[in-house]
Amino acid sequence: MENTSREDSKAPLLEAHDLELWRGDRRLFEGISLAVHESELLHITGPNGCGKTSLLRVLCGLTLPETGKVIWKGRQVARSRADYHSEMCYVGHRESLKADLSAYENLGFDLGLRRDAGTEVIRSALEEVGLTRAADVPSRSLSAGQKRRVSIARCLASKARLWVLDEPYTNLDVAGREFVDEMMTRHLQNDGLVLLVAHQSHGVAGHTVRQMEMA
């Protein structure tokens, strides 16, 4: 495990200490500690099956680690799940869209659980990701790229501080990849945090990017 650390006087917003996870009788990882600060992107890389997605799920609170703890703003996530989840948005392998509902209806529900936002917030988020016309057709007829855009719109509209993106580039063409990069760059400029798992290198430049290699 290599973790290039950076001098920073500020306290990290997201911390993980000594995480260990087993799957059956196989140990996926152990002793993983990390810290992510404001406007910082942590890019987690590694070969297939090394537990990148599992690590991400542990960091989100979907999977409980055998040992170790995840801390958000100084509080342990397991004890303040609602606070953490209201500031986090997860984009997983599946797009989490109801195929029978339109992008607009899908986001309306997701957002309704997260914050009291008007309908115009959803419209403008969908507009921002370039889905003005496709917003009202059933999601089943959207392309993979469009669905990914809806997921990003969910992150935008929920005003989540922390974006957790699991392979956001899969199934995307060059334009789609550039779009994801642009959204991440903008989010980082707004003091957001990004946890990114991706095989490919990303197009976000600057000193706010750190890489972590899992073996």
Partner: protein, 227 residues
């Protein structure tokens, strides 16, 4: 950040599930069709003597209702887990127990309530005495939510398995036996002119127990399944 209240989230979830269900009206009618088919096949297969049918009516009615809700239990969370919306629900700031309770309420409105409404018709086909119909409807209205709630907690447990169908019935059936016993007993008592209040009270007590405990079981089981 201001998180919307529990009531808002609950209503939102119920409304969305109903909205989704009404886009697939065919699937919606499945448990009801099963209930009607099973109960109307008995008079055809057996000797259609009113006295015979009357004698077996409570049993047939209740077994059919139980099996119909068992059939529906498998589909309660399956789609949500498969398309990933359950992950988002587990990662929302709302309590998962409440959201799953809301899903079960919507599920009851779609699969349980139609059984209650159709039971007089089915009872008529089985020569169930008219006096026993109101009692049967009340008993079914109390019993079907219990079946859905227990079915929901077991479905949450098995939803992570690819083929949990058979296992699901094995898990649910022993737990819901009291519901079958008291439900059929209530109908039976009303038929013979005995006051069925005792059996109905017991069903109501079971319903309260199920409403207060199963949401937490569902949430815990769902977190394990998503793990």
């Amino acid at each position: 950040m201001d998180i919307p209240g529990l009531g808002t989230a609950f209503i939102l979830q119920v409304r969305r599930d109903l909205q989704l269900a009404f886009r697939h009206v065919g699937q919606l009618a499945n448990p009801l069709m099963f209930f009607i088919m099973v109960t109307t096949l008995f008079p055809l297969a057996l000797n259609p003597m009113p006295r015979l049918l009357e004698a077996i009516a409570p049993g047939v009615l209740w077994v059919a209702a139980l099996l119909a809700s068992l059939l529906a239990a498998e589909g309660l969370f399956r789609q949500d887990v498969d398309d990933g919306t359950m992950e988002q629900l587990a990662l929302s700031p709302q309590p998962l127990a409440l959201m799953l309770l809301a899903k079960t309420v919507a599920h009851w409105l779609i699969t349980g309530l139609p059984l209650v409404i159709m039971s007089p018709v089915v009872g008529y086909a089985l020569f169930l005495p008219r006096d026993a119909v109101p009692t049967t409807m009340i008993a079914l209205a109390l019993a079907t939510p219990i079946l859905n709630l227990v079915g929901g907690s077991m479905a949450a447990l098995t939803v992570g398995l690819r083929r949990g169908g058979g296992l699901l019935s094995l898990l649910i059936l022993p737990i819901v036996m009291p519901v079958l016993i008291f439900g059929a007993r209530a109908t039976d008592m009303a038929m013979t002119g005995v006051d069925p209040a005792g059996a109905l009270y017991l069903l109501a007590a079971l319903l309260l127990l199920a409403v207060s405990l199963t949401p937490f079981a569902m949430a815990a089981a769902m977190r394990i399944s998503l793990d």
